[in-house]
Symmetry: C6
Subunit: 71 residues, 6 copies
């Protein structure tokens, strides 16, 4: 569990790269929801995703199960 | 995970802006509940939302999956 | 997430007021359970509620999704 | 959330009293399971319960939704 | 919640004894899964269990609801 | 719960060994999802898995219930 936003962590850097390269991703949440789109930003608490219909969704990291590239 | 209420975080500032601008939002909770309305305040632990029927609901952040603008 | 019981927090003060004013509330839990009644006390870890049938229930805060006034 | 076992907390003292007085209780867990019996001990991490069929169950506090007296 | 592995805690010592005495146990997880077998080791984060078919399973403590002896 | 990535922990070392030896594993998540494949890396927050169809999945540790070898 992160208690500070450590930008040297591989998982933080991976997400930073996905943001910079505008990569299409898919987030599976513990609610069962799947949110697909491009990551806009991350901080210690949340991800922000732009979905294909130009809807911005702020996802709490506590609710994330996994992230997949593309599809 | 936040252990203090850091108002410089993008996700905290985004919510602060939604409060100030009286924006209609939708919160999806890990229970599957969706709560729609306008945010009244946030603190380290909770959000308070005024729903369309003038009911105030205090939501624990631990239960939030994601937040969407409007609809 | 709280790691100490900070009585200056809006969400802690709101609950303190609900206790003092003997307000009828409803707690929705992440199990899906809804517990209705009046709050007796809160601490860092739990709420204690007196339900309408005079049953005391101690609820762990970790299990709370949201709180509504009355009904 | 507790990070140390603070015996001055009302919710810790309540459980201590239930142990000493050998009170019949019911724990509802976030799995939906209900465990009924008498509390044997608590620590920072767990409760131990003796159920009516003399089975000892160690319950992780992280899984507790609420506790009710008797029935 | 434990943030360090405190071997003086009753719940940690109980598990240590179950490991040493090679006791048959049952773990119920918050997924609903039940894993039966003998505990091999514990650390701050996980339990390792050898099930009856000689399969080793590493269980994250965050997912444990309760532990029962034998059956 | 880990708040730093302690490489002397048995559970961290076990995963490190599974990465080095390119072992086929199976992760069961609290969503019910099962992800099978080979571990690529771990950090404090996540595991990265290469599944049999060459899809990389980043799994948040908070969502892991258990890990099994092979099958």
């Amino acid at each position: 569990m992160l208690t500070e936003f450590d930008t040297s962590l591989p998982s933080i850097k991976q997400v930073q790269k996905l943001i910079q390269e505008n990569t299409q991703i898919e987030l599976k949440l513990i609610t069962g929801d799947v949110i697909a789109g491009k990551l806009l930003w991350q901080d210690l608490q949340c991800f922000c995703i732009m979905s294909e219909d130009n809807q911005k969704t702020t996802v709490w990291k506590q609710a994330i199960a996994f992230l997949k590239i593309g599809e």
